[in-house]
């Protein structure tokens, strides 16, 4: 196997909770890696630390502990002035294209901006590349002279994607890139991302709470709960046979757009615990229907399932007690 483009080891991010002296434990010892050209999906509910991990990887927020290796280089503590040249190789697409783009710049200048910052190109070369980039994201060339207020959400997200791929990055972090878009527009953007993945072989970290979308675009999927990875698996394996009780419950809540699809429900009781005061042991034990005494004290390690690259962090996998009995859907 080739060396991963990105490795994250034991990443921890704590935010101070006001002036209380307490901390919000947003990310708790997360390990993950992305191979060149791979698309890694990251799912979890709000507060599970998805976006914080994405931002820490790009050094948009300082990791508290842990190590981030990008393209063979430890970037965890590199100084700010060395971060900017790094962004040439790692780009980001955000959820809300309306606020991600400067309203006072023309679309063409917005796309050319990243090239201006990172690449040493003549003005003509840059203009030519801008037109070609617009073509690649299926944006009509006349839009290049317009402003962001003239474009629809889907078109603006295309502009953001064009900006992200302008420097041929090795990694693109996409934080909920389709969540604010209507269904048919979302389909077009997913199409475009799949196309770009084929053409550029850039690795992608695709962050989303939408299970259907993640399944569609990802090679492997990471499931997060309270800032920790609970399961990592190839997309099909995760959907066919989720091993961690939380994944089972999360996937059972997914509603496929097919009235014939059978729903088997094992919904959780209670609310997600406060990240300020994390439960001991396995952080899921407070809501887990199959938790045993040991789950309170012992932090579960990653357990390999089958022979695929499928791992889940649950103590009960070894003895096969990790399955939640499904109840009938309402």
């Amino acid at each position: 196997m080739t060396a991963p483009v990105l490795t994250v080891e034991k990443l921890v991010k704590r935010f101070p909770a006001g002036r209380s002296g307490l901390f919000v434990n947003a990310v708790n010892s997360v390990d993950l890696s992305i191979a060149p050209g791979e698309t890694l999906g990251m799912v979890g509910e709000s507060g599970s630390g998805k976006s914080t991990i994405g931002r820490a990887i790009l050094r948009l927020t300082e990791p508290t502990e842990g190590k981030i290796t990008f393209d063979g280089r430890d970037i965890t503590r590199i100084p700010d002035r060395e971060i900017r040249p790094l962004r040439r190789d790692m780009q980001m697409v955000f959820q809300d294209p309306w606020s991600a783009l400067n309203p006072r710049m023309r679309i063409g200048d917005l796309i050319a901006e990243t090239m201006k910052l990172h690449l040493d190109l003549s003005k003509t070369e840059r203009e030519n590349r801008t037109v070609r980039l617009a073509e690649r994201v299926h944006l009509r060339p006349e839009y290049l002279r317009r402003y962001s207020s003239d474009l629809s959400g889907g078109q603006l997200q295309r502009v953001c994607i064009a900006r992200a791929i302008a420097t041929n990055p090795k990694l693109i972090v996409l934080d909920e890139p389709t969540s604010s878009l209507d269904l048919s527009v979302r389909a077009e953007i997913l199409d475009l991302l799949a196309e770009i993945r084929e053409q550029s072989r850039a690795a992608m970290l695709f962050i989303s709470h939408d299970l259907g979308t993640v399944r569609l675009i990802s090679d492997r999927i990471v499931v997060l709960y309270l800032g920790a990875v609970v399961e990592t698996a190839p997309g099909e394996a995760l959907f066919a046979d989720p091993a961690h009780p939380y994944s089972q419950s999360l996937l059972s809540a997914h509603l496929p757009a097919d009235p014939e699809a059978k729903l088997s429900r094992h919904l959780l009781v209670g609310e997600i615990p406060s990240p300020i005061n994390l439960p001991s042991g396995c952080t899921f034990h407070t809501r887990c229907p199959v938790a045993i005494g040991a789950c309170r004290n012992e932090v579960p390690g990653a357990e390999r399932i089958g022979d695929a690259e499928h791992y889940a962090n649950c103590l009960r996998i070894a003895e096969g007690g990790n399955r939640i009995k499904p109840t009938e859907a309402a």
Partner: protein, 326 residues
């Protein structure tokens, strides 16, 4: 007679532009549907298709410049469009209840939740305060609020999004409505919470024999929680029918494109997608509003498409209904 009958409802936004010229946005055009007691109808469509506006027009909740131009809304034998404002007020919150997106902004931040529940009961049913309080406790229990005795005195800001939505549902149920309109009831909530809320709503319709309209852009919700579906595009219902029928054999090109765009059916890199922009409501194309984007469109589409029955209770507004290649 059906519980709710909507006939040829038209709602337009009438305003004046900077040159004092009248501008009309044709937001709803000839919306007609019926809903039987105890049934669940799901409205789907994209932003601006007129889903929420339909609900607001039914309940008389429009504010200028939006105005119902014509049409009739008959609810339980009453003509809502012709009803005096006071009578309508008496009906809303009692016979017709509504649950909206964004529960936290729908609760009064300065009133404990039990008092908000009591208030809506007092406004309609009246009677002794103690009875309203008992009813409030029952409803909080019915919507699955744990430990209702203690939670009753909570302030809205102390509730999570899911809990706030449960309170809003409890509030809607206080007066035993015949119709519940849920406008994007789970948008913004996490999937596990969404499933809990939807299971709850479905369970409550069965338990209390309520009819429900669910407005959503998520086809997954409609697929699993409604009996019937109405697909809206540019202020018109372009297709309506039983959920299983419509998903099995969508008859309108727009419905087809919507279903094909769901993650389950979407083939990345393949299949024709509906390109283009939603139509400009100030300047709708004549005839079928989809015709500028539709791959099947021909000259005949410049005339209004007829409503064609393609299956049991399954109607499609398209010139080519039933004749489209599958």
């Amino acid at each position: 007679m059906s519980l709710l009958e909507v006939e040829n409802l038209r709602t337009h936004f009438i305003s004046r532009d900077i040159d004092n010229q009248i501008r009309v946005a044709e937001a709803l055009n000839d919306v007609s549907f019926t809903l039987e007691a105890g049934k669940v109808l799901g409205f789907v469509g994209e932003t601006g298709a007129g889903k929420s506006l339909t609900a607001q027009s039914i309940c008389g909740l429009l504010r200028p410049p939006a105005k119902v131009i014509c049409g009739r809304v008959t609810f339980d034998g009453h003509d809502l469009t012709a009803m005096p404002a006071d009578d309508l007020n008496a009906l809303r919150g009692a016979e017709i209840a509504m649950v909206v997106q964004n529960p936290r902004t729908s609760l009064d931040p300065l009133t404990r939740i039990v008092d908000q529940l009591v208030r809506i009961h007092q406004a309609h049913a009246g009677g002794p305060l103690a009875a309203s309080r008992t009813r409030a406790m029952e409803m909080m229990e019915a919507v699955g609020i744990p430990d209702p005795k203690n939670r009753a005195n909570a302030w809205p800001h102390e509730l999570s999004g899911g809990m706030a939505q449960r309170v809003l549902i409890a509030m809607a149920l206080m007066n035993n409505p015949k119709l519940l309109i849920a406008d994007e009831p789970t948008t913004g909530l996490d999937v596990t919470v969404q499933a809990q809320i939807l299971d709850l709503l479905k369970h409550l319709t069965e338990r209390f024999g309520m009819a429900m309209i669910i407005i959503t852009h998520d086809l997954g919700i409609v697929a699993h929680y409604s009996d019937e579906i109405a697909v809206m595009f540019a202020g018109t219902i372009v297709e309506a029918g039983p959920v299983s029928e419509v998903f099995e054999a969508p008859g309108h090109p727009y419905t087809r494109s919507l279903i094909a765009a769901t993650p389950e059916r979407l083939k990345v890199g393949g299949g024709a997608k509906l390109g283009g922009q939603p139509p400009d409501l100030y300047n709708l194309p004549s005839g079928c509003a989809l015709r500028t984007r539709c791959v099947f469109a021909s000259d005949v589409c410049a005339t209004p498409p007829p409503r064609t029955r393609v299956g049991p209770d399954h109607d499609v507004n398209c010139h080519f209904a039933g004749d489209l290649p599958s």
